[in-house]
């Protein structure tokens, strides 16, 4: 499809949201379009960046991600301190988080896309990622159904750096930890590497601005996973396959209410739709080619997508909800997520190679 009719469709959807849902959701959809366009145009792949670091000792992707985290933190932490209406992404340190992050890091390499990566690649028209999205949603839903059992294995209360150290202390600690990540990367890649690539830098700046706008408007940080679980939950309820009143997660007041409302009122849903639309808009000018997969690769990729959805719910988010939003809003769970997901990725890149993706 050409860009002009696509832009007209997105404009029509914007008007529909203004008239039928709310101006806030309409504007959040446009922010999502910007996120999708930035992710797709810059090929800002969290999964790829980690893989390039491991396999090629190329630090550019991770440097771009650290830049994104630093910029987002510099904006989000002072805003959270200033406005009591805004929420941080605080997940509980738990066995669930540790297992979920590890498995997520492993499977995202096989599926070649994390939460945001699967979204924008599906929007670009990459066949495997289009196939993965419904399974990711189903996995995310099942993860939420089982979440209570996973949490019973052990958890502590969420830890907010801002609550413990104040805004200034949280910002200093976050930036110091990000600097430590860069030092570790420098030790791994050695001297003489090129650290910055234009597309990673402008992608990081654009995504930091859009994530901040998301926080200001929605009152909550950017997230991806919750919306997918909600979609699968609504379909399961409609089919009579799931009774939310008997489930610890979906029986909670907020979740139960969202099951009765249109998904257009859900923040993560509306930005997810925008991301798909933004990536589709980018693909209209530069179509994405992808190598055909064998039947075995399809099966492995789809299973990985399902497990990735399940584990993202256990991990209290993907690269966006847990890593970007968790770290940039001063949550300890974001910092626990990263090393576990990276450990999983170390195995995932080998599995990916073994199956010749």
């Amino acid at each position: 499809m050409k860009r002009l009719p696509l832009a007209a469709l997105l404009a029509a959807f914007f008007v529909f949201l203004v008239l039928s849902v709310s101006i806030r959701q309409a504007v959040l959809m446009l922010i999502g379009v910007g996120m999708g366009a930035a992710l797709a145009a810059a090929r800002f792949g969290f999964t790829t960046g980690w893989r390039q670091l491991i396999e090629q000792r190329n630090p550019q992707g991770v440097a771009g991600q650290v830049l994104l985290l630093a910029l987002a933190s510099l904006a989000a932490l002072p805003l959270l301190g200033q406005f009591s209406e805004l929420h941080a992404a605080l997940g509980p340190p738990s066995v669930s988080l540790l297992v979920g992050a590890f498995v997520f890091g492993l499977t995202m390499q096989i599926a070649d896309g994390c939460g945001s990566g699967s979204l924008y690649k599906a929007g670009l028209g990459v066949p495997l990622n289009m196939g993965i999205l419904p399974l990711f949603a189903l996995g995310s839903f099942l993860g939420s159904v089982h979440l209570d059992s996973w949490l019973s294995l052990g958890q502590t209360a969420p830890v907010s750096f801002s609550a413990v150290y104040g805004t200034g202390g949280a910002l200093a600690l976050t930036l110091a930890l990000l600097a430590a990540v860069l030092v570790a990367v420098r030790l791994w890649v050695g001297a003489g590497q090129s650290w910055f690539d234009k597309r990673w830098v402008w992608g990081a700046v654009a995504l930091a601005v859009l994530a901040t706008l998301n926080l200001l408007l929605a009152g909550q940080p950017w997230g991806v996973v919750y919306g997918f679980g909600l979609w699968a939950a609504k379909i399961s309820v409609a089919l009579g396959a799931f009774e939310p009143a008997t489930n610890a997660f979906w029986d909670q007041a907020g979740n139960a209410q969202r099951l009765t409302q249109t998904v257009f009122k859900d923040v993560t849903t509306i930005t997810n739709i925008g991301i798909l639309g933004g990536a589709l808009w980018v693909s209209a000018k530069s179509p994405t080619g992808s190598k055909p997969l064998t039947t075995q690769q399809w099966v492995i990729g789809l299973v990985a997508g399902f497990v990735m959805g399940y584990s993202s719910r256990l991990a209290f988010g993907c690269n966006i909800g847990a890593m970007l939003s968790g770290i940039s809003t001063g949550s300890l769970h974001g910092w626990l997520w990263v090393p576990l997901a990276f450990a999983g990725t170390l195995i995932g890149v080998r599995v990916r190679r073994y199956y010749q993706f």
């Binding site: 997940g91 979740n255 739709i273």
Partner: protein
């Protein structure tokens, strides 16, 4: 039409069908209770779902 384009058509039609069904089947939106455009400074705490929530 290539295989990828067919898959793209199925993907977008399925998504559109789900969203249309959901909008029609869900409880009507109360437009009089529309949230303020910008949550920051509005005095209304956010109550949306997020991946980080455990309940």
């Amino acid at each position: 039409m290539s295989q990828t384009h067919k898959l793209q058509a199925v993907f977008w039609l399925s998504l559109s069908a789900f969203l249309a069904w959901d909008f029609l089947a869900s409880e009507p939106v109360d437009l009089r209770n529309e949230p303020p455009l910008i949550a920051a400074g509005s005095g209304q705490a956010s109550s949306g779902g997020h991946c980080s929530i455990s309940k």
